[in-house]
């Protein structure tokens, strides 16, 4: 159930956009497709929606083969990065669109649209045109429009990508709460790892047309399958031939067990955090201001460093020299 994708491949000319993708997205879950720009996330989402045809492979929605189904028969809600609002229709008519073309009774449409407008906090904007809304409001309208037809799955392509950081954060929390209320199988595309880690039940990391790893946010964070996944989920540095997270590096002023010696070549303060560049190791450590002051760190200081016990580390990829 949910969405099953088998052996999906897609080329644009000679360019391989997706290669043999196998995925399964659980019913009722909120799944993030995470990856760098050009990785093929949108292409995969559009294939699931039927807006793009795969060269190979099949798509199953709720147990039924949808590979050859036209978008309008798939019963998916699609939310575009740039809203795709129907510019000539009011907010109300936008949301009502799917119900109107299904020829539902007027009273039922009115009831459902008003419910949805309330859900997305746009009740008082029902008579406006999309051009008279802010970006965040437009995106909430697009979401209500997609939800109106009670889709089996909801697909969102970087729904908050065009919004500023603050609105983005608000909407992402709101999406999570909305999902907990509505419980529709949801897949959303993002290239923001924080967004994916914070909102989703499951993350699919896609890079270069391939799936790098699938898992719950904590699994991905604690047990990244490869250097790519680890470095995509947050800053990393190398220490002693291993990829580690800078905030997982312990810094000592005296030799300790397996710690390696290093020299602080640069000390930079950014708000509450302090970055210590460890010149000779090529890495850097992230400390809090308190830690840095307790250690009395200064540029030129000799220190000993090691990854804190039990933290995530994987062999670093060989650097081209």
């Amino acid at each position: 159930m949910g969405i099953q994708v088998h052996g999906i491949g897609k080329r644009f000319g000679d360019f391989v956009a997706l290669e043999n993708i196998d995925l399964s997205m659980r019913t009722g879950a909120l799944t993030a497709l995470l990856g760098p720009s050009g990785g093929g996330k949108s292409t995969l989402l559009r294939i699931i929606a039927g807006l793009e045809k795969p060269d190979t492979g099949t798509v199953e929605i709720d147990g039924a083969d949808a590979t050859r189904l036209a978008p309008r028969h798939r019963n998916v809600g699609f939310v575009f990065q740039h809203y795709a609002a129907f510019t000539h229709l009011s907010v109300y008519r936008n949301v009502a669109f799917g119900l109107e073309i299904r020829k539902r009774p007027r009273a039922e449409i009115r009831k459902r649209v008003n419910e949805l407008l309330e859900l997305v906090h746009l009740e008082q904007f029902a008579d406006r045109l999309p051009a008279q809304l802010s970006g965040g409001q437009r995106q909430r309208m697009a979401l209500a429009r997609a939800l109106a037809v009670e889709p089996k799955v909801l697909l969102l392509d970087e729904p908050f990508g065009a919004l500023d950081a603050k609105v983005r954060k608000e909407l992402r929390d709101w999406l999570r709460r909305l999902h907990d209320e509505v419980h529709v199988t949801t897949v959303f595309v993002t290239h923001d790892q924080e967004e994916a880690l914070e909102v989703s039940d499951e993350i699919v990391v896609i890079n270069d047309g391939r799936v790098e790893q699938v898992g719950k946010p904590d699994e991905l964070y604690d047990r990244p399958a490869n250097p790519f996944v680890m470095s995509f989920l947050g800053p990393v540095t190398t220490l002693d031939g291993q990829l580690v997270r800078p905030h997982d590096i312990e810094v000592f002023t005296d030799p300790v067990g397996d710690a390696v010696p290093a020299k602080v070549t640069r000390l930079q303060r950014i708000g509450f955090e302090v970055r210590a560049e460890l010149g000779d190791t090529g890495g850097w450590a992230q400390l809090t201001r308190g830690q840095s002051e307790a250690l009395n760190l200064a540029e030129g200081a000799n220190v000993w460093v090691r990854p804190a016990p039990g933290t995530t580390r994987i062999p670093a990829p060989r650097q081209p020299t």
Binding site: G77, T87, Q124, V149
Partner: protein
């Protein structure tokens, strides 16, 4: 409109609109340009129109109305009406179809089609007419075929309508393509995923999006259809009382019958119609911008 909904903070437009005001035309360069423009409009547009106006009404209103009331003139106007209206209907349907095809689909031969649509703009209408005669004339490639199916193209209305469509279709297509390209496909894709069929998408999304541009293009093409001379001249065989349109009538009156008064009267009516069409299209354009 905005006062029926709860007030929100929206930037109030500055009293002087954001559009940059044209620079006051005081510099020597702009004076020269203004002079050139005035000479151009004066010599090439206003003066001839004034002359026609003068010559139309100089012999008196009786002569004017008598000229318009002749059976040949009435028939010519009728012919122009039939041909122009048929062509405009075809332009509207085909214009939308071709524009959607060009703007929305990538297919083999797309550039060729695009160039082909524009061809009548760059080629003399007489050549368009001749090409049609070569294809549909009695000895043309397809002439005998269509004749066999009971359609006479050359020297009859069907050919005149086709010729008129040829020269005026680009006006509709070129008005629509940029609007379609600019609005993108996402609204239609959103409608599709909401369950809209192709017909519903066209009717509820595409047509409303291009409505203003379509009206503008159709009005322009109407003006062109009414005034078309060259292509229709060649295709119609120019038979008085049968295939003679108003512009052909003007030509015949001047060249064959040397009846200038009647020619001026018809010309005057054509000018008024064209002027009305241009005013209408300008009004539409202005409304679309606001």
């Amino acid at each position: 409109m905005a006062d029926t909904v709860a007030p929100v903070t929206r930037p109030v437009p500055a009293p002087h609109s954001a559009r940059e005001p044209a620079r006051a035309a005081r510099t020597p360069g702009s004076l020269v340009l203004r002079g050139v423009a005035m000479v151009y409009v004066g010599l090439l547009v206003l003066l001839p129109v004034a002359v026609i106006l003068y010559r139309t009404f100089q012999p008196g209103l009786n002569v004017f109305f008598a000229a318009l009331d002749s059976p040949e003139a009435l028939h010519a106007f009728q012919m122009t009406g039939i041909v122009a209206l048929s062509a405009v209907v075809i332009n509207t349907v085909f214009g939308v179809a071709v524009a959607v095809l060009l703007a929305r689909y990538r297919f083999w031969g797309r550039r060729l089609l695009s160039a082909f649509v524009d061809l009548p703009v760059s080629v003399s209408p007489i050549v368009v007419g001749l090409a049609l005669v070569l294809v549909f004339g009695p000895t043309g490639w397809l002439g005998p075929f269509v004749e066999h199916h009971g359609v006479t193209m050359i020297g009859a209305k069907p050919g005149m309508i086709v010729a008129t469509v040829f020269v005026s279709l680009p006006l509709v297509v070129r008005a629509l393509v940029p609007v379609l390209e600019q609005s993108g496909m996402e609204q239609e894709q959103a409608a599709a995923s909401l369950g809209a069929s192709a017909v519903t998408r066209l009717r509820r999304i595409t047509l409303p999006t291009i409505r203003a541009a379509l009206t503008y293009g159709v009005v322009l093409s109407l003006a062109r259809c009414i005034g078309e001379y060259g292509a229709v001249l060649v295709v119609s065989n120019n038979i008085e009382g049968q295939t003679e349109t108003a512009p052909l009538r003007v030509g015949n009156l001047v060249e064959n019958e040397l009846n200038y008064n009647a020619a001026y009267a018809i010309t005057f009516v054509l000018i008024i119609v064209a002027f009305a069409a241009i005013l209408l299209s300008a009004w539409i354009r202005r409304r679309r911008r606001s």
